[in-house]
Amino acid sequence: MSIRISQIDKTYGNKGHGRKDDGRTRALEPIDLDIQDGELIGLLGPSGSGKTTLLRIVAGLEQADGGSIHFGERDVTHVHVRDRRIGFVFQHYALFRHMNVFDNVAFGLTAMPRAQRPSSGEIRNRVMQLLEMVRLQDFAERFPAQLSGGQQQRVSLARALALKPDVLLLDEPFGALDAKVRQELRRWLRHLHEELHFTSLFVTHDQEEALELSDRVVVMSNGRVEQIATPDTLYRQPANRFVFEFLGDVNRLEGDIEEEVLTCGNARVAVPGVENGRQELLLRPHEIRLDEQPSPRAHLPVSVTAVVPVGAEVRIELEADWLGEPWLATISHADFERLAITRGKRLYAQPSRLHRFDTTRPQTLAPLSVS
């Protein structure tokens, strides 16, 4: 089932009291979003960006001030939550604490009007099948309080899927779980999604989670959509500075540019194609190479203040007089050993790429390549 969101907006606070703007918060600017049938979409943003509000409006748990929502051809803008045929997974599971796992999963079926309700045998089969799917068939008699967080969230998923919803909505589904369980559940959800082909929309503030799970990611901030793109595009071609900064660690370089060279204290670097004036450029930690000698195109002296040799790469913190805040660089273990990096060592940074976002379209520079 496809989802079409058009011009949905929402403002919190007291309306129509003759006051102008005070006491009111714009939760959502008018938002448009088209979701294809069977797509898995991640809503990514910092807290207060409006992502949960949007999800709850799609669910019908909150009302938008304007705009419309269609599930396929069906206009559900004014349809009550209970008739929208959605499955909703809450961040803190929201399992019925006084019911055992079986009754929790069966709730949607047993709450149906008598005329439509399946027989108790059918309900039993369906519930056991769902519990098998979430690998909890041995836990049917347990109560929520007797389960771990990961197990509770799986029960909550089975419960949401019991009515075969057209649309599955998940609000920070793995937010309350520890890192390892989160990783496992993510993979499992992806798998389930490929198997069952429901359309789903999930909210997260975790960049990695959004990039790993989603077919497309919607990046939001301050109630606005900043970019809608596949994870790959999002990372490589961020639409603006916010997206670039939100998707990973960022280093800043600010200085005066004259004749395509940026100068900042005793540091300078070639910036091909950038006009004269004051300018701020950004770069990712992996876009920094370290060397013992400056190159003709980049003279950026730095000293090492911290070294974290854990993981696939070595994380190195760099400081210099000309830097406002320290830089973070990630280099290979091979480079780390070759340069014999220790704390306090003086090196030269070589930026392979620099990004600028003050132009209408973001621009990426390659300072080291000779044009």
Binding site: F88, F90, H92, A94, F96, A145, S156, L163
Partner: protein, 275 residues
């Protein structure tokens, strides 16, 4: 290192004092009630109990409880639901207003009702013209008792429902449940212990209320005397044994209430450890 109160002598002393005070202030009066009531033997006790006025007082007390408890049960649940599940202007004010019956003296409550519904009161004239008697009759007693006991259920439920939040109800509605189904199968099971506790407290107060009732009842023997009023009147008549006989009934009710409360708490605790 010795913590404060860890020394065996200090501990024994503290426990001893606590037990002695409990016996002196709580247990002794209770024993005294029954001792006084049975002072002239069990026959006199039964005789006093089967006194027509006393029987009428028992009947009236039960009537008040039977009306007050269900009304305040529904009202309390409704109020708690409203305050904890909805955002509306005046919500905080409403939450404060709930406490008024606790804050004012019951005698004042009685006087206010007298002012409103009495013969010279604001509504009294109209009521009189239509031949409806509220003051100095059972409807007045029920009204003030309703007023005095209305916070109990809501007060028990509001903190609990606030702590539990509305997530389970939201989950239920996304699963297609109707409002009534949600209340019956999700909300009610979650609040039932607090609800029962609120009902027990309401009942205890409805049966035992003296101040407010004495103002509006008018002390007509056999007609508007509830048990607490009956106790007082018998005592004024120098019928000590009779007064204590009625008092023993109230004490018995109180004991039953406490037992019911303890049983509930015990069951709740057992449930906690079981899960």
């Amino acid at each position: 290192m010795i913590r404060i109160g860890d020394a065996p002598r200090v501990r024994r002393l503290l426990i001893g004092v606590a037990l002695a005070l409990t016996a002196l202030f709580l247990l002794l009066p209770l024993v005294a009630i029954f001792a006084q009531a049975l002072m002239s033997g069990i026959d006199v006790y039964w005789q006093n109990l089967s006194d027509a006025y006393t029987l009428a007082a028992i009947g009236l007390t039960l009537l008040v409880a039977v009306i007050t408890v269900p009304v305040n049960l529904v009202f309390g649940v409704f109020l708690a639901w409203l305050v904890t599940r909805f955002e509306f202007p005046g919500r905080r004010l409403l939450q404060t207003l709930i406490d008024i019956p606790f804050a004012v003296s019951p005698v004042v409550a009685g006087l206010v009702y007298l002012l409103l519904y009495g013969r010279n009161g604001w509504l009294g004239g109209w009521l009189d013209a239509n031949d409806i008697q509220i003051m100095f009759a059972w409807p007045g007693i029920v009204l003030v008792t309703l007023f005095v006991t209305c916070p109990f259920v809501a007060r028990e439920l509001i903190p609990l429902m606030q702590a539990q939040g509305s997530r389970e109800e939201e989950a239920a509605v996304t699963l297609g449940a109707s409002g009534w189904t949600i209340f019956r199968r999700v909300t009610l099971p979650n609040i039932r212990h607090a609800l029962l506790y609120g009902v027990i407290l309401t009942n205890a107060r409805a049966v035992g209320e003296f101040g407010a009732v004495s103002v509006v009842a008018g002390a007509i023997r056999g007609e508007t005397n509830t048990l607490p009023l009956q106790v007082e009147q018998l005592y004024q008549d120098y019928n000590t044994v009779g007064a204590f006989t009625s008092a023993s009934l109230l004490a018995l009710l109180a004991l039953l209430t406490l037992a019911a409360k303890a049983a509930l708490e015990w069951r709740a605790a057992r449930r906690e450890t079981a899960t």
